[in-house]
Symmetry: C2
Subunit: 208 residues, 2 copies
């Protein structure tokens, strides 16, 4: 079992490696990857050991394709389902256009909302359905993941609907703590934490 | 010097502790905080040692007010400036209303955009200015931090304007790698990483 923190870092390494590859680089040292990922070289080497990547060649470092293949074999899963996004407001709309633009795997297969103006429309190349169709669409489209971008007062109710439809992973943007059964993984996103972190370092750096 | 990862975790502990306090709890054990923060008890104890919190009382655990005061003394800084948000589109608007709703410290003091429809308007209780006023507004409002929510092709140009106006911290949502001088801290946010992480665990959990 790979810890959640390692999985998070592997996703960060993958983004960095894909960017380097697009700049036609073929090898990288652990200390270079550590710097790009805001991490320590020892942490990078430990993470790569966990997924079976042995030490890079001292003259050139790790092969970028070699690392990408190893990370893909861990993160990508042919059985990984699609995503349902619930609440197509300002945040939901921005996430829809972004994840379709990045062609993220998995991608958003269906959106849901209660607003009559949005139901039946296609928003950022994704069809918007009423909540009453959630169960059928989750089954039909092989959805295993939900993104919650509704006002926090509705977050628990929407979560219950997603879980009873068979979803086992939730990315929650609403400021609410969700109660879910043990077999459902929930990750909460809160940009105020990011703001606090950047504020701390902006202050440190301004003293340099 | 406290590492970036520790600062990130302190911000997460603080959110959890504030939520516990609002539920009238007064003490907490390190393993309980670890579970809420998706972390290990050893990591929580190490982090609290770094900021000078000695071991909790074995019968009750750590005092929640004691921990909050210690974390606040590290994260909060009376000299921390305000925030400028650049690009008031779907994502920018959602961030503006969220951070004003959460009364996050620091808060967004000014927004900037190039769209004539938005300039001069107040959006989510924040005034929107043209880019030409960035330098004067950054000085006038004591802004030290920038949030970038413009299309990626403009991200570098907007960063250069913020840095030359005196900003030393940047939270970047645009999918672009920014070049900044050494005294500027940049944090990039990419929700596709979060999606990949949740997808991995949704898959693990669905096998339970
Ligand atoms: N975590 C963060 O960093 C962060 C940042 C910004 C916004 N937010 C949160 O994200 C959520 C959305 O923010 P926004 O600015 O897009 O709000 P919004 O009001 O623009 O959008 C909300 C959408 O949800 C829909 N909706 C409401 N109730 C629903 C229900 N029961 N089922 C399905 N759809 C429903 C509405 O019709 C609307 O389209 C809020 O909870 C907000 O607090 C979080
Ligand atoms: N990192 C993530 O997870 C994530 C998620 C969603 C969106 N995004 C990114 O965030 C950015 C904004 O997304 P959106 O959906 O809100 O886009 P949008 O098109 O709705 O909004 C962009 C806004 O920026 C303004 N703008 C354009 N050029 C500008 C300039 N030079 N100076 C100032 N303002 C300018 C536009 O007038 C508009 O108001 C994009 O880069 C998108 O890729 C990132």
């Amino acid at each position: 079992k790979i810890p959640a923190r390692t999985i998070e870092r592997l996703a960060i390494y993958r983004r960095q490696l894909l960017e380097l590859k697009s700049n036609r680089l073929s090898h990288i040292y652990s200390h270079q990857l550590a710097e790009l990922a805001n991490n320590t070289p020892a942490q990078v080497r430990r993470d790569l050991m966990i997924i079976g990547c042995s030490g890079g060649n001292p003259k050139q470092g790790y092969g970028i394709d070699y690392l990408l293949n190893s990370i893909n074999s861990i993160l990508d899963n042919d059985k990984a389902g699609q995503i349902a996004l619930v609440g197509v407001g300002d945040l939901g709309k921005a996430i829809l256009s972004y994840s379709n633009y990045q062609r993220s795997t998995p991608s958003v297969a269906a959106a849901f909302d209660i607003d009559e103006e949005k139901i039946g429309k296609v928003i950022a190349s994704c069809k918007c359905y009423p909540l009453s169709e959630m169960k059928t669409k989750v089954k039909e489209l092989g959805i295993t993941l939900g993104i919650i971008t509704v006002p926090s007062v509705y977050a628990q109710k929407v979560t219950d609907k997603l879980v009873s439809a068979g979803v086992t992973g939730i990315l929650n943007f609403a400021p609410a703590t969700l109660r879910v059964p043990n077999n459902v993984f929930v990750e909460r996103i809160d940009i105020t934490m990011e703001i606090e972190k950047v504020a701390y370092f902006a202050n440190e750096y301004s003293r340099l």
